[in-house]
């Protein structure tokens, strides 16, 4: 279980040396252990996305979360499972279809943009080209994009992608968050106070105070 995410950025990598949330599983209650173990196990099969949609979604989520190497958190499998089971968030905008349909339409539109710009499907574009296509959507903000409001599509993608990614113990290791806390709880609360199982940040200086030259920029 000692896999680490291969984070590209020189500043973020290794901020919490040796921190391994999953190693604490013996201190978690049964119900919680079960839901977290599922994320560390084999990902569910793709049931909702078509093969083309799966390819586009993978390329998109790899970009959103900067996961360009294995091991990866299987974000698209987790999104697919939610959509297949209609585990939506309990609302959709009046001018957007339900989440599942909105995913399908927006992935198709993303592909269409790349074909127009680069004559290739999104997942066959190189990483720089993909970034350009995505940033153009972000830049539209409240403007329209293929009949939808761009920022609502952005919110849909990032909400699902981040929920999947930051529910994974590997992501917790990277940000210093210990995950489940029942029944053990915390005994040392307060600024700069640590539990014995927490690890201090090895690079505590604000990344924005480090010169841009020292850090990766997306």
């Amino acid at each position: 279980m000692n896999q680490k995410l291969p984070l590209q950025d020189p500043n973020a990598r290794g901020r919490f040396p040796g921190f391994d949330t999953a190693s604490q599983a013996e201190y978690w209650d049964m119900a919680t252990k079960a839901v977290v173990a599922e994320r560390l196990g084999m990902p569910p099969n793709i049931r909702f996305f078509t093969r083309e949609e799966e390819a586009t979604a993978n390329a998109l989520c790899d970009q959103l979360l900067d996961q360009q190497e294995d091991p990866r958190v299987p974000v698209v499998h987790l999104i697919d499972a939610r959509l297949a089971e209609k585990q939506y968030d309990g609302w959709h905008y009046e001018d957007m279809p339900e989440d599942a349909e909105a995913w399908k339409q927006s992935l198709a539109a993303l592909d269409q943009d790349s074909r127009e710009a680069w004559s290739r499907p999104f997942h066959e574009c190189d990483l720089g080209e993909q970034r350009g296509v995505i940033q153009a959507i972000v830049d539209r903000g409240s403007g329209e994009w293929h009949g939808m409001i761009a920022k609502r599509v952005w919110s849909l993608w990032t909400r699902y992608a981040c929920s999947a990614f930051y529910s994974h113990p590997w992501a917790w290791d990277e940000i210093g968050f210990p995950g489940p806390a029942f029944p053990r709880g915390y005994k040392n609360i307060g600024v700069d106070k640590l539990e014995p199982f927490e690890v201090r940040d090895a690079k505590p200086v604000d990344p924005t105070r480090i010169g841009d030259a020292d850090r990766g920029k997306s």
């Binding site: 209650d29 919680t32 709880g185």
Partner: protein, 553 residues
Amino acid sequence: MRLLPGSLDHVRERNESAWLMPPHPGTNHQLRHDMRRFEDDDEVDLVIVGCGAGGSTLMQRLARLGWRIVALDAGPFWEPERDWVSDEAGSHHLYWNDPRVIAGSDPVPLGSNNSGRGVGGSMVHYAGYTPRFHPSDFRTYSQDGVGADWPFAYEDLRPYYQDIEEELPVAGEDWPWGDPHSYPHSPHPVGGNGEIFLEGARKVGITAKVGPVAISNGRFGNRPHCIYRGFCLQGCKVDAKASPLITHIPDALAHGAEVRADSMVTRVGVDDRTGRATGVHYVRRGRERFQRARMVAVAGYSIETPRLLLNSATERWPNGLCNDHDLVGRYVMVQGAPQTAGRFDREIRMYKAPPPEVSSEQFYETDPKAPYQRGFSIQTVSPLPITWSEHVIAQGHWGASLREYMSDYVHWACFGALCEFLPRPENRVTLDEEKDRHGMPIAHFSYSQGENDQQLLQAAQQKMEEILHAAGADETMTIQRFAHLVGGARMAATEDKGVVSGDCQSFAIPNLYLTDGSVLPTQGSANPALTIMAIAARAASRLARGARGGPPR
């Protein structure tokens, strides 16, 4: 004077819930097993729709007086040790996730951000802040020329505030704002986020206080002490944080009430001839059923309560029950809830300790020097990683810069404001063309802000930034959010102004009551759950005293 923890034993005489809990985190299975069960054909004294903040309080109060009550809830009868997890993504099932459509110029996302589903209602996953409203909240129209006046005054609610504060129980410092008061439990120790709030506020001369939170500080009955694990918004597996599931339902069951979970009410039954409610139509295990009752109370939350009334239209009430004056579903309110975070080289680790720690109500009242009416409060909020990622995304980060910012999580402190948005008739719930799996039209919720609302947002953000910078933050980020939906079937002195009276009785149908957050005419900048419970407790006591004809038999 603050009482010492342990001296709340007198509460047991009026609400034994905390003593009916097992002496460890968990459920009293025997109590549920022995629960009384009524037949659909039994004409019970009262059927309640929704076992949340308002519904459960009403049930407990009247069950104690011998009323025969069935309370239906669309969601499950939670068993926290089995159903709840100490995990963010794994708690998705606590929310009302059935489809709803949102619209307007400032649409309000629902689901996890707003309402719950299951016995205990939204308080299962609420943060746990339980401030009182201020006396001025009850007369904003006559005092400030905005909003609406309530049909009763703060003083009428005060004894119910005191009772509920003991029953939850609430912990906090002596409270200097509104009607100054103290709390039954002493304030909790604070974590990093709370320390930053206190430090920054002191430096800029803003008064900040620890609390008020409905989290026991010390043992209360058989309920244990908080373990500062920070997962209050995921349901408290420890039973330290109050929700009706542990504060009112056990006592109601012990007094012969039935909680019928997994029962979605689709219509209130009304006899057009007599003009009285007859019971409720509901769906359980796929079967359509009808529970007869002498009196109906709807407490399904500010979206579901109007939806249910609108969907219960008859020939006599073609536009929905109680809707002759076109008021059902209108004046729904949310508080503007911008959250501003600050970055410190020190490690804050805001996920430790409950998110509700410290608050300030210094800017709650109308400031004659400000260009806007009414005000805002500021509180600690402590988003867990998935929610925190929304804050980072909102700044335009994605890809490598998102991951990098996220790896900085332990260095951030985060506050939230609650801005008193004003009630507007066009902010409303209507029925959509889309239907749910029961064939019931889903709710369509439209929301738009006014100018006063937007000014409050800016003022609140500025104050939060000031506090954070004073505490030493070198960078801040803000995300716009909404919190705490209330209104939609407001109370008023007369039927042309509101759907129910101050006693929560509908003007149109004498044996139909609404006892949840939908009756609030204004919202202040306080979190609403305590006030909702106090209003329901007051309605129960008025019913019991026979102010409206007394108990049905």
